[in-house]
Structures are given as C-alpha cells and as structure tokens.
C-alpha cells in the first residue's frame, strides 16, 4: 500500500489541489539566503509548479551539491527526502537514486560553480545517460557561498564587485548540452515566473534529462553595474525565443497562436503536452544545430536567449537503454534477486 500526505486543514482562502494539498504544503523551511537573492524566486517557482502538477511531495527527491543554490532544496517540498551532497557531485547521487528507484521524481538543484566547474564531468555524463530528472542550474556567474569569485559562466568583460574583469570565455550550459546531445534544453530568468513555471512542469514530465539554466542574480556579489548577470542586465537582454505552455494530460489544448507565430504541440511520455509558441519566428526548437547557431549568434550580441530552446522526446532514458525492470529495484523481493542454493551448486560445476 502507498501512503499519502495527510492534507492539513486548509485555510478558507487557500486553494487546494486534487490531493487536498495547499501550496504551503509544497514549501520548505525558511530561506536563509540574502534578501532578494534570485534563488529564492526559483524556489517559489518550483513550489508553484509541483503544487499545480499535483505531485505527491514525498514521491519527490531533491538533490543538490554545495553552494547557496544548493541550499535551496531545504526551502521547498518539506515532506520530500532531500540530499545535499558534496560540491559538484549531485548528478551521481541523482543517478544512484534513480537507478535504485525509478519511480521517484528526481529534482536536482545546482549552481554555476557546482555544475560548470568542479561538477562539469558529472553534469555532462548525466546528460549523456539521459537519466530521468529535472536539473536546474541557478546561474549567477559567481560562487555566491564563497563570496563572489567568478564562476565558469561569467561573461568576458563582466566586472566583479571588487573591480576585477573576467577575461575567460564562459561555458554556456545551453551550447554545452546541445553539443552533448541533451534531450531538453531550456533557459529562463528567476525574475520571469510566467516563463519559468511551465518550463519546470515540462521538465518534470519530460522523460529523460531536462535542463533548465535559470539566470538568478546574486544580489550580494553580482548585481552591480557592470555585471552581465544582474537583474538590470537580465531585464534588458533576456530574449525569449520560445515560450512553452505546459498542458496536463486531461486538459484540452488552448490552441492560440499567441502574438508570435503558431503554436507547436509536443507530446510527452505521460500524455501531457507542451505547447511551444515561438517568439522568434526563425527559431526551430527541434533542430539541434539551428538552436546552437541561434543561441551563439545572440550571445555574441550580449543577448541571453531563453525558453525551451531544444527538445527531443525520442531519446531513450537511462533505464530504457539499460532495459531495467519497470518497477523500482528497491521494491524487488529478495526472492527475485537470489538465485538460491541449487543454482549456486550448478554454477560451481564450471569451477572444477
């Protein structure tokens, strides 16, 4: 039998979802981040997405590395297991949890330092395995928790608070994961919840590795004048290329072309759909090389292309490729795992 979270008595004005849970049931403990930190907005978007998707919180696992960003899993889904691992190694923990129990909804939260410096290898290989998880990079161009050194996502010419100018070219998670054959490549901005929430929903429902790189300003160390990761810079150069609406399995499609071009439906494995609305008419989010070209071109102009930039629902996920049994390995009875004494005797005939 499975147990579910008992709904708290909802206050009159609180909306509940079909599980009888309110949005507050999807929250976590109080944030200890700096007031105004972009990461807190992402936390709020995650809460909203899970609440609206009506996922039972305890069927989720929240995994992170180390950094201000990696602290945030404590601030959402109180009744989900959390795993604050070591710096840069969240992907391997997530891989293990997913290997053991494929039913768990796996959300990984990381920072640009955590994923693009120390964790680059694990990050790239999680993409390659296409393991089924939502992977969020809370990208602020600096190491927040160690007080503001440049990270590998810092743009050339971006200035640190103390005046130093970054000289090295950035590692862009979008270009990088396109090159690695990722199946769901998205970018957003912590200040744009309307864009972010549906992306999170789609990422959760995508069967495979769903990356959302969220520009998330660090108010303490990287929100000043000459930073390219500040609120003001992002407000100016945040360039949505494709908007994605998420539609739950039962819902009917609100087919509206929107202001920018026609809507393209993408069917997800569980029956839900994403409606893609192209903000940029020349953009094709199913063409890997074209996506690369578009992002790169705009990057050279200092623009940060956002949206669901690439999606490929055909790629098989880790367990599908491996041919693992459909139910969680953690629930497999021991009798189905042990070949037993007779088989052991048989096996040993070959060892004589």
């Amino acid at each position: 039998m499975t147990y579910v979270q008992k709904p708290r008595p909802a206050l009159a004005w609180e909306k509940t979802n079909s599980l009888g849970l309110t949005r507050r049931d999807y929250e976590g403990s109080l944030s200890t981040l700096c007031a105004g930190c972009g990461h807190d907005s992402i936390t709020a978007a995650i809460v909203k997405a899970f609440f609206e998707l009506e996922v039972p919180p305890h069927q989720v696992v929240k995994i992170s590395g180390i950094g201000c960003s990696s602290k945030t899993p404590a601030y959402f889904l109180r009744t989900a297991h959390g795993f604050n691992s070591v710096h840069g190694r969240m992907p391997s923990i997530a891989t293990g949890a997913n290997a053991a129990n494929s039913d768990l909804v796996c959300v990984g939260v990381s920072g640009d330092g955590d994923s693009l410096s120390i964790g680059l290898g694990q990050f790239a290989h999680a993409v390659r395995r296409n393991m089924n998880m939502l992977y969020i990079i809370e990208n602020n161009g600096v190491y927040g928790l160690t007080k503001g050194q440049f990270s590998a996502s810092a743009d050339v010419g971006s200035k640190a608070k103390k005046g130093e100018v970054n000289q090295q070219s950035p590692i862009d998670p979008m270009l990088l994961t396109l090159s690695l054959g990722a199946s769901f490549v998205a970018r957003s901005f912590s200040g744009d919840k309307a864009q972010l929430v549906p992306l999170i929903k789609a990422g959760i429902r995508h069967k495979g590795f769903a990356l959302i790189d969220v520009m998330s300003p660090c108010v303490t160390f990287n929100d000043h004048e000459d930073s390219t990761k500040s609120y003001s810079y992002m407000r100016r150069y945040h360039h949505p290329a494709v908007q994605a609406d998420f539609i739950a399995p039962a819902a009917t499609i609100q087919a509206s072309g929107g202001e920018h071009g026609e809507a393209i439906p993408v069917q997800l494995h569980d029956g839900s759909r994403i409606m893609l609305r192209k903000a940029a008419p020349d953009y094709d989010p199913t063409d890997r090389a074209a996506a690369f070209e578009y992002i790169e071109r705009h990057q050279r102009r200092g623009e940060v292309v956002t949206g669901l930039l690439y999606i490929n629902e055909q790629r098989s996920s880790m367990h599908d490729l491996a041919g693992t049994v459909n139910s969680p390995l953690t629930e497999m009875a021991y009798e189905k795992l042990s070949p037993g004494s007779k088989t052991l005797a048989d096996i040993q005939k070959a060892y004589r």
Binding site: H81, S92, I93, Q348
Partner: protein, 608 residues
C-alpha cells in the same frame, strides 16, 4: 637429456612449475588447463599469474604449485621452468633450482645459452610441430601453448583422460576446437614420450584431496556474493585488478537476474565516468534503499575519499571493494600488495573510522561480500571489502560455496511505511537504544519519513547545526557506533599451538603462507599461535591475544607495517611487542620469507 644432480630424487605431488610466455599470445588458457588438470586429479594446486600492465608483447609468467600436502602459497622455488619467451630465457633459467628442469621450444635450438650444468634441459620443437600441423598464424601460436601442456602431461604423468575431459567441458559442443586442441596435446605428449624418459622423478599421482572443492578467483566469488546478497545497483569505473569483479556480477546477473518473460533486468549496472561518480551513484542508490556497491583499487579509493567521508557522516550504506594493487600512485597495477589498509580504515578528512573486512581467499570473498551488505545496512555506513590482486585475479582452491536458502538480508533499522504512519515525527539521527545506530527512512515511502540528508553539521534530529554541543553529540554517537561495529565484523580466526610463547598476527592473502610457516615451525618444535584479523574496527579480544604473547609477529604486505600501526593505535598495545614481517615487492607472500624473518628475530632475542 641427462638428468642433473639431485634431479633423480622422486618428488610426487610436490613441486613448482613456472611458465614464461609473451602476453597476448593466449597462454593463459593453456596454463589454466594445466592447473585444472592437477586439480581434477585430486591434487591440491595453486596457480598465480604474473602479468605485465600491457596488452600484447611483453613477458608474462605463470606459477603452478602442486602440493599433496595442501600448501598453496607462493613459493620461490621453481622445479620446472617452461620457457616460452626468448626475451627472458636468461633470467628464467637462473630461477630453476639445482637439479630442476627447463623445457623450451627448440625449434630454434639454444643449447649454448642454457649453460647451467645443474639443471636438465628439455627441448621440444613446439613451433615446428604446430606449424606443420595447424594453419593460420593465430592458431599456430595458440596451439604451441596447448602442445606444451601435452609435453608436460607426459613428463609429469598427468592423466590424459583428465585433459580430454577438461577440453570437452571448456569447448562444450565445439567439436572442431576439441579435436584441434587434443591434437596439439598429443603432439607435445607424443614428442616427449618419444624423446625423453617419462615420467620425470618430478611427477603427479592421482589423489582425493580436491573433492568438495572448486577453483575460483576472488573477484568472481565476490561478484557472485553480490548477486546472492541481493545487490541491485553496481557502479564502477574500470581499473585493474578489480575489473573482473563487475564482469562477474554482470555475467551472473545476465544469467540469473533477467526476467524470463519480459527480458527485463532486475539489476542496474552503471559504468560511471570515473570513481568519484561511481561512489556517488552507490551512495545515491544506498540512500534510496537499494543494495549498491562499487569495485575499485587504490587510486579509486583516493578519488572517492571525499564521498566516503560523506557516507560516514551522513550514515549511508555502501559497499566498496578495494582489490589492492601495488602503490603508491599508479604503482604496479598488475602486482599484489596490502598497501591500502591504513587508508581504508580512516579515509577522508576529519575524524572518520570505517568498517573494513579482510577476506583471505575467494571463499571469504563470497561470504564477506554478503556480510558487507548486511553490515552496511545494519551500521548505515560504507563498508570496505579489502581484497588484493592475488586473491582477486588468481584461481584459488576453495571449499565449495554453500548457500542457506533461509537467508534474509539484514536491512537494519529501516522504517516501514506502516511504522512511519504511526509516528508523530521522525528524527533521523536519534539513537534510542544506545548502539549508536539510528532508524532511517527511505525516500518515496511516507511523508513523515522525509528529512534532509547532509554532510554539513547536523544535530540528532537531522537539522542543520553549527552548535558545538549538538555537533559533538552526533560525533560521539558515531564513535559509539564504531564500537558496535567491532562486535559485528567477522571475528578474528585464532589457531593455537600448545606451548606457544610467541604468535603471528596476519591478514588477508598472507594466510596461506603463514599457515605453511606455522607448520614449518611446528616441525622444528617452535609452536606459534596465530590470529588472523578479519574485520575492523578491531574487537578487544585481539588486544588480549597480543598481551598473552611475548612477541607477536605482524605479517603483512606493505612497507610501512600498516596493520601493525593500526593495532597499536586502536588497541593501545605496547609497540615493542609487535614485530613487523613485511613483503612489499609486489609478489605474493612465501612461507620462506616469514620463516626467515621470524628466525632472525628469535635468534636476536636469544643473543640479547
């Protein structure tokens, strides 16, 4: 052939053959055929492979010891050398004991070079015969190896029926292969019978000392143990000499863990991008509730250090096999050593102490790998199984493995959904019964079980803390858990000899040589007691054992006496009592080294 001095003393079922080959020429299967032939004749046998860290073209050696008395340790004496590699003729010849034999391929005669007059040279034109008989370069090379087995069969009186039986089993229904192999056997056999007086004084006679036994390597046995323990997730990055452990697990799973109807796999093996990822995957899986493991060797443990400390502090079950090779650094990847004892005991920064099991042979590899999973879940911590290249990659004669079908995995204190449903709250790190072990909950089971796992400071409720008292409370409980662990790891094995004033303590693959040395001392009326350490943290009885002897020789295979240091530091025993006997050259331990070292010390003792 003229028999040389001492060569005519008949030695039945008691000699050492060493074979020199070029690697990548398929000699391994021929050598294993030879070893198995002795085994099937009922004679205890040992076979050790000394191969290079290379794929093709370099010298490689194989040592076969036949011992009716059951001594299966490495032995520096070589009675018969099969010298198949011209590059090493000279050094090979030098190793033969006076009165011994050297067989070589005299297609290209080298009588001048083999100039020792105290050994007997046996030339067999292996290449010539095989070139005449077989076609194809590869086949000719392979068959040369089989042919020398035939030659040895004639020289040593190996039962050809046994060899035939083996070939049948090995090649199953591939009749053509069986035929050509038999042909090669007969080439060698026939030539030798024709040209040399057979058998040699050195020879075998059928016996009955191998029934109820198997020949198996430790990695195969350990992989099999993982299957029987119910492990479902294996993560690894290839590294010699641990690679075959995962090959074994994979192979057995493919045969015994695939759903017959659906073809679905009841296991998940992840070839990780490196060792840091491999241990991460194991911790993630263990945390989620699967039995998970990773096999590696020294460099892998170094890379895993950070995560191992996490596993200790956040208390996550994990099983880590360290199949030791020669360190430090890349060292000699194809030689054996016990150089990782200290590292595994205390791996990672800060105060840590890990559970380590020390199998001494493939049989224990099997049982200890099952025990390791039980202990990892019972103690909620990473558990090391510290094997080595010698155990892991060489075939050892072992009693047949047994399985008790009533075995149930010990999952330790895992809360079920039902239990959690009854609880008002759940505190992950609260020890209610004083054994230092707290209840844990698995993800996906019940909302009440949710908690936030972290490697940063936490209190007994599982909350983040930077408070000194709360932190220290958790650390003190972890120390208590170590004490519990000492009572749960495999107990030391003690062998007592009446009248013993001194004793030996040893560990792992030293066991065979130590037991042989004990017998030698006993024959010389110097009784010694013997304790073999099998688990860490150490149980207090080891200290008692040490204190009960005047001198304790700590026999181990590393330069720095790592086990000895550990005994002193952990048990508070007097260092002067403990005398190191060390072999760290990369070769397996031989009884003679132990005997000489102990003789030396005891002589000093008398003199002083």
């Amino acid at each position: 052939m003229t028999e040389k001095a001492a060569g005519d003393a008949v030695r039945i079922n008691d000699f050492v053959i060493k074979l020199a080959n070029v690697n990548g020429t398929g000699s391994a299967s021929a050598n294993s055929l030879l070893m198995k032939a002795f085994f099937r004749m009922g004679i205890p046998v040992m076979g050790k492979n000394y191969f290079p860290s290379n794929i093709q073209g370099l010298p490689t050696w194989y040592e076969v010891r036949v011992s009716g008395d059951g001594y299966t340790a490495h032995n520096n004496r070589v009675d018969l050398f099969v010298a198949m590699n011209a590059q090493t003729y000279e050094q090979d010849m030098a190793e033969v004991v006076p009165g011994g034999y050297l067989l070589y391929d005299d297609t290209w005669p080298r009588e001048k070079m083999f100039d020792r007059d105290d050994i007997t040279l046996i030339g067999v034109p292996l290449a010539k015969m095989c070139n005449e008989t077989f076609s194809g370069v590869r086949a000719r090379i392979l068959m040369k190896n089989v042919a020398y087995v035939g030659a040895l069969a004639a020289l040593l009186d190996i039962d050809l029926e046994v060899i035939r039986g083996l070939l049948n089993d090995i090649f199953a229904s591939k009749d053509a292969l069986i035929a050509s192999n038999l042909q090669a056997i007969e080439l060698g056999h026939g030539y030798v019978r024709e040209h040399y007086p057979c058998p040699l004084p050195l020879r075998v006679e059928p016996s009955d000392k191998t029934s109820g036994h198997i020949l198996i390597d430790g990695n195969t046995a350990a992989g099999l143990g993982c299957v029987y323990a119910g492990a479902t997730v294996g993560a690894w990055y290839p590294i010699t000499p641990s690679t075959s452990l995962m090959d074994s697990f994979k192979g057995f799973c493919h045969r015994h863990r695939i759903d017959e109807d659906t073809g679905e796999k009841r296991f998940c093996i992840v070839q990780a991008e490196d060792e840091l990822a491999a241990i991460g995957i194991v911790l993630g899986a263990g945390w989620a509730g699967a039995r998970a493991f990773t096999p590696t060797s020294g460099p892998g443990i170094s890379l895993m250090s950070e995560f191992i400390g996490y596993g200790y502090f956040a208390e996550i079950p994990a099983v880590i096999f360290d199949v030791q090779r020669v360190g430090p650094s890349t060292g000699m990847p194809t030689r054996t050593q016990q150089g990782d004892i200290a590292m595994c005991a205390y791996a990672s920064h800060g105060d840590t102490k890990h559970v380590v099991l020390f199998p001494a042979n493939p049989e224990e590899c099997f049982y200890f790998s099952v025990a390791a999973f039980d202990l990892a879940e019972r103690l909620q911590t990473p558990v090391f199984v510290l094997s080595d290249l010698d155990i892991g990659m060489n075939d050892w004669m072992c009693p047949e493995l047994k399985w008790d079908d009533s075995y149930k995995p010990d999952r330790g204190k895992v809360l079920t959904a039902e239990q959690l449903e009854e609880m008002a709250y759940f505190h992950r790190y609260t020890d209610v019964d004083g054994d230092g072990i707290c209840a844990r909950s698995l993800p996906g089971v019940h909302p009440t079980g949710a908690f936030f796992t972290r490697g940063s400071g936490h209190n007994k409720r599982g909350d983040y803390t930077e408070n000194s008292e709360e932190y220290a409370e958790v650390m003190d409980r972890l120390a208590r858990k170590s004490e519990t662990a000492a009572t749960l790891v495999p107990e030391p094995l003690v062998t007592r000899n009446s009248g013993a004033r001194h004793a030996i303590i040893s560990v792992g693959s030293c066991d065979d040589a130590v037991r042989e040395a004990l017998d030698i001392f006993e024959q010389r009326d110097i009784p010694l007691n013997y304790l073999r350490v099998r688990g860490f943290p150490f149980v207090e009885s080891i200290a008692d054992f040490i204190r009960a002897h005047e001198r304790v020789f700590v026999v181990e295979m590393n330069r720095d006496g790592q086990l000895r240091n550990l005994l002193i530091a952990e048990l508070g025993v007097e260092p002067s009592r403990l005398v190191s006997v060390l072999e760290y050259s990369g070769m397996p331990l031989a009884a003679s080294l132990v005997v000489e070292a102990i003789d030396g010390t005891l002589a000093e003792g008398v003199a002083a």
